[in-house]
Symmetry: C2
Subunit: 138 residues, 2 copies
Amino acid sequence: MLSSSRFVVAVHALSVLARFRGKGPVCSALVAESVHTNPVVIRRLMTELERARLVKSVAGRAGGFEIGRDPAEISLADVYFAVEDENVFRMHKTDPQSSCPVAAQLGKVLSGPLRTAECALHSSLAKTSIRDVAFAIV
Amino acid sequence: MLSSSRFVVAVHALSVLARFRGKGPVCSALVAESVHTNPVVIRRLMTELERARLVKSVAGRAGGFEIGRDPAEISLADVYFAVEDENVFRMHKTDPQSSCPVAAQLGKVLSGPLRTAECALHSSLAKTSIRDVAFAIV
DNA sequence: GACGATGTAACTCTTGGAGTTACGAATATG
DNA sequence: CATATTCGTAACTCCAAGAGTTACATCGTC
């Protein structure tokens, strides 16, 4: 399972920004209130989303965040990549020198199927956009 | 990403048991040595695998663990379900009473796509069996 | 220049996995 | 029967990571 709710929080925040699109920047305090968390938590998450060009930040008074591009062009997979950079599956430390053939070769044997499974997850997430989420809401 | 290496360790342990199939029970110390961890960690994991009928334990002297059924009939999805019972995606706490429509409805809107993505992951994992893994190893 | 916003450091709190020790219960073996 | 070996499990520590919080420098508008 996912170790954090970062992904869902990011989708939440982007949905808010999508609905405010064209109305000027939204400040972290407002997003934080909707997500029910702390503004700093939002700003930290926004840093990662900005790196992925999913949002733009506006500095100074009356600043805040705007969605980086058309919400229809941002998929849940994009968001997932932006905030959950590590692999879905965590390997334990294997010893390639082990006298046990399983220990020595498991990593190599397993990497293919696990990569395939990750791709399946990403492909599925790619089918839904932030627009789909944000404007399914009344 | 996955918060633990439990899944991969379980696949590792089951691969060892698959290769010892028909040669009597394998004790936790031996599996632990291959996985490079502690016997208690293995026994705890085995408790969950036994609950899912993927292994059988043999008590007493000369006891240990045996694989529960034909390794070709155990998929990585079965293993995943057995040891990672929580959802892939962790939701944050939403407030259905919130005045913000996104906060109030996000959970409902998102549940469909997320469930679909989990299914895609499981379907992909279902295509590989413990036999495929254990006997790809020399 | 003052105000309101971001960016970020620093710290704490909490949660969960992992590792370890210990010991009772079960059971094959001599 | 006595012993040795193994599971099952409780109790504890250690560690890592997310989340929350406070604080403050910086930026840009009014």
